[in-house]
Amino acid sequence: MLTERLYTSKYSFFDKLLAIDYFLIFIVIMIGAVSVFAIHSTEGGEFSYYTKNHLIRLVAFFVMFLFLSFIKIIFWYRNAYIFYFICLFLLIIVLLFGITASGSKRWINLYFLNLQPSELMKIAIIVCFARYYHKIQSADIQNYRFLLIPITLIIIPCYLVIAQPDLGTSILIAGSGIVVIWLAGLNIKYFVYSGLLLLVSFPFVVSILKPYQKSRILTFFNPDRDPLGTGYQIIQSKIAIGSGGFFGKGYLKGTQSYLEFLPEKHTDFIFTLFSEEFGFLGSIILLLLYILLIYRVISTGFIVRSFFAKLYCFGFASAIFLYVFVNISMVLGLLPIVGAPLPIMSYGGSSMLSIMLGLSIVMSCRIYSQDQISKY
């Protein structure tokens, strides 16, 4: 650490304000606004518990996002590993003292918020890997010795999260980490090989899954296998989306969600509700908002000078894509129901916290875009 030399520029406050990506902020506000309406609709148009909580969290974490944006990028670089290990530590705490709800142990009670450390881990792993690959030489990246550490760093939290059990988040953590490794330039053959290995070991993996996870995956391949059990969610979600048509049933008029046919409509199935009420048109607009969000994050990656920031931005953009893709594919019946929230839209403090935190690091990258971080 002592050998590090940092080339930091001087920024006036005005420079910082100018550097802020207002377009990104605008998109976040837009998605946030849509999410408030969607949550409002899950309560049948009443402004009560869920809507209120969601709005408070949205505003609080949005403000947090703005403040944290001014933290120097070097801070994240320096504390990347610490951040990772804090999250790991929290995951172990969850395993030991976590709060159990609906059969899984995912939360730590912080009184003002039930924190879900696995959500934070989704960001931490990107930051951690960005630093890791920042430091090593390009020639060393292909060296399997340098591959062992990141793989270990992925497997440990994934195992802890699967044990909660929470297959969805664990997939997202692994996916985020793998995407960063990919971006860092690991040879394609490793991906091909491990992909093949995964395919071959799939039956084995399925056999060690929990019964409900197994049945979800089996049901994905044939939703009619158990139309009132695990297949119910997929079938009802497809009915809701399909019956929305081009323009949708109208705000607060989604019968599927209003009449409680939709499960978990606040969290994982929020897109279903939105799509039922706002139809194909609304869904495409929401998708476009997410594409713009990803685009803005990537564009930040292009203007930063340090490899750490670049890797982080591209990695985080891909992670956002992953979250959105997994969630929407899931509710459309394209992927098994694994339980993954839709960024910003879904009700849930930790997921909101993690996405806002991730965005604030992106913003920090942008504000301090000229900072150089060198190993020597």
């Binding site: 690959y133 030489q137 390009s138 020639a139 995407v179 990919w182 971006l183 860092a184 330039g185 009802q236 497809k238 009915i239 809701a240 989306i241 399909g242 019956s243 929305g244 048509g245 081009f246 019968t255 599927q256 009449l259 409680e260 046919f261 799509s275 139809g279 194909f280 869904s283 495409i284 998708l287 594409i291 990803i294 990537i298 990656g301 490899f307 670049k310 890797l311 591209f314 891909s318 894509f321 893709f325 929407i328 594919s329 459309l332 394209l334 060198s374 190993k375 020597y376």
Partner: protein
């Protein structure tokens, strides 16, 4: 420098990798978009239907049963208000607890509770269970008092079958009860209308005219949530009532006839001899059809089933009896028509000391000391058995059976309405060969001549026979469901037309083929020579209105009520020599061995319009037990004749 080169290298790699990743992302987003397109635009209709199926649930409401009325539109089968308890299963949290509470409030028996649990198993979680379908008012109001504690329990005022003249018409109208699997299999209409607690006809008109009476179910459409709880009512298609069925029965006469039979087992039938309308068809004893509507209890059912007088049997059509002497007018008619006997021929009846003998077998007349010399008219009037032994011997059973069948014996009359109707037996040589594989004995012909032996008839058949003799020998169609196309004017016109046709062309009945058995058209003449019909009618007049006639005591002097009839006393058991010597009175014989008392008549004699038959099971002699009832009944019918004709005219002008 090494570091810088590495940096540049890394920068290049990351851009390339990002490019590939972005391309992949766009591809996957395109995939999502196409999926959205296929769900929301291509397959939209399919999912809209599924969504409606999800949220809309239908409840059938029971159809309203059509009414059954008598000739004067008096309601015989009504729909009455009943108080029911419905349980909405989707709203009940703790079923056992609710049942326990209900048990204390409305007095459910353990048996009923078992039944409730049994039905619940067959129902879907959002169905309605009818816990009790006939509460009395005090239970119902008590239930309403506790209602706030009983979630999912609904007091419902519904309609159900009610028979205001309960016992008087049960054999005609029938009764309803819970639709059974057999009922459901029987008829498409029942399947279609099936709702929990649907009542369908189980006997009589209720059963045979189910299709007309059942009506059409209603539909209530509700929007429901995922657990099936009703959120709002979307639509209500009201159920419709089945058609009204009008019968030819005169409620007053029917009630009167039932009253006459009270305390005895028997039957009374009354018929319009021209239109064939059945005015009364009483059977005794009876039972209360209202008990069946909500499921009869064991005690009541056992009482009805085990009654030795067999209330469940409609004796008018399903009771088979030897006609006894009531067959004599027909035997006489047959003998006259075939020319086998000269009515002026005198036969001596010598009493029990010198009975009629054939091949060594003795045949006794009922009269101990004999009738002396009898001619045919007197033989009918005084019901001399000896005369008819000889007449039957001369006539032969085959010729007798032709005439008996022609005048309505031995075939079904109301089979399309009463499936339990019996045909009876009109024996002949062929019949015996088929049924028993034995040849006919002449002795059997002899006892056939006095309506004993194999011959079996229903009281309604005897009534029809009397009607077809009384109307001058024309075929009529007896019916119990009112048919406005059959009225007295049409009928008389048809008969008159038939008569002129016959005189112009010559009826087949006047020719040699009179012997043939064949189907007769409606209003076709049944006789060969009308003098023979008139002879029999006159003899029956004598039997009632002249001294020494067997029913002389039951006569009317007033020509308005004056009727002609014939008594009958049919033996249930062969009388042994010992018994004959003992000369027991009927009251001294065991009930089940006593004779059946019969009586047939038509009235008024001068211009006949109605025929009746009376049967009292084990009533003893026809003249003592049956004829006096006929006397009262005929007065009642004739008294109501004017109003009946008025109503008929009113009905016609209305239609």
């Amino acid at each position: 420098m090494h570091n810088r080169a590495s940096s540049v290298q890394k920068g290049r790699v990351i851009s390339r990798r990002l490019f590939i990743l972005t391309a992949a992302k766009l591809l996957l987003f395109a995939g999502i978009t196409s999926r959205l397109y296929s769900l929301q635009i291509s397959d939209r209709e399919k999912y809209e239907i599924l969504s409606d199926k999800n949220r809309i649930r239908e409840w059938k409401t029971p159809p309203q049963r059509g009414l059954i009325t008598d000739f004067y539109n008096k309601i015989l089968a009504d729909n009455d208000r009943v108080f029911q308890v419905h349980l909405s299963l989707d709203e009940i949290q703790n079923f056992d607890q609710i049942i326990f509470r209900l048990k204390n409030i409305i007095n459910l028996s353990n048996n009923e509770i078992r039944k409730i649990y049994k039905t619940k198993e067959k129902l879907k979680p959002w169905d309605t269970l009818v816990a009790s379908d006939n509460l009395d008012w005090s239970e119902f109001s008590k239930l309403n008092l506790y209602l706030h504690e009983l979630e999912g329990v609904k007091p419902v005022v519904s309609s159900s079958r009610y028979y205001p003249y309960a016992n008087n018409l049960v054999h005609i109208v029938g009764y309803v009860g819970q639709a059974s699997i057999k009922d459901i299999e029987r008829m498409e209409e029942i399947r279609e209308n099936l709702v929990p607690g649907l009542k369908v006809g189980k006997s009589g008109i209720e059963y045979s005219n189910e299709k007309l009476l059942i009506g059409k179910y209603g539909i209530k459409r509700y929007e429901v949530n995922s657990s099936g709880k009703r959120i709002s009512q979307l639509e209500h298609i009201k159920e419709s009532q089945g058609s009204e069925i009008k019968t030819t029965i005169d409620l007053e006469v029917q009630k009167f006839a039932q009253e006459l039979l009270k305390g005895q087992a028997g039957s009374i039938c009354a018929m319009d001899i021209y239109t064939g309308e059945i005015i009364a068809m009483a059977s005794s004893p009876t039972y209360d059809p209202n008990k069946f509507t909500h499921g009869i209890n064991h005690k009541d059912w056992n009482e009805i089933r085990d009654n030795p007088l067999k209330p469940l049997v409609n004796k008018s059509i399903a009771g088979l009896y030897s006609p006894g002497s009531t067959l004599k007018p027909l035997v006489a008619l047959a003998a006259l028509e075939f020319g086998t006997i000269d009515p002026e021929r005198a036969i001596e009846c010598k009493g029990h000391k010198h009975p009629y003998e054939l091949y060594g077998v003795k045949y006794h007349c009922w009269k101990k000391h004999g009738h002396g010399y009898m001619r045919l008219r007197n033989a009918i009037k005084q019901s001399c058995d000896t005369y008819f032994y000889e007449t039957a011997r001369l006539l032969g059973v085959d010729k007798l059976s032709i005439i008996a069948k022609r005048y309505g014996l031995g075939s079904n009359i109301l089979k399309d309405i009463y499936f339990d109707e019996k045909k009876g037996i009109v024996p002949n040589t062929q019949w015996k060969k088929n049924a028993m594989g034995k040849s006919w004995y002449l002795g059997e012909t002899v006892i056939n001549g006095i309506g004993q032996g194999y011959i079996q008839t229903t009281p309604l058949q005897l009534c029809l026979m009397t009607a077809q003799i009384a109307n001058g020998g024309y075929k009529i169609k007896p019916h119990i469901l009112y048919d406005e196309n059959i009225n007295i004017e049409n009928t008389k016109l048809e008969i008159a037309k038939q008569f002129t046709n016959d005189s112009l062309l010559g009826s087949p009945n006047t020719k040699e083929n009179y012997l043939e058995e064949r189907e007769y058209q409606l209003y076709e003449r049944l006789y060969k020579n009308s003098q023979n019909i008139n002879f029999v009618k006159d003899a029956m007049f004598g039997s009632t209105n002249e001294q020494y006639g067997t029913s002389y005591k039951s006569r009317y002097e007033d020509p308005k009520y004056q009727f002609a009839g014939k008594t009958g006393t049919s033996q249930v058991k062969r009388i042994t020599e010992v018994e004959r010597k003992l000369d027991l009175k009927q009251s001294q014989i065991e009930y089940k061995n006593r004779d059946h008392a019969l009586y047939i008549a038509f009235a008024p004699y001068k211009d006949p319009r109605y025929s009746i038959s009376v049967l009292i099971e084990h009533g003893g002699s026809g003249s003592r037990a049956a004829a006096p009832l006929a006397n009262k009944l005929i007065k009642k019918i004739i008294d109501r004749h004017g109003i009946r004709e008025q109503t008929r005219k009113a009905n016609l002008t209305l239609a």
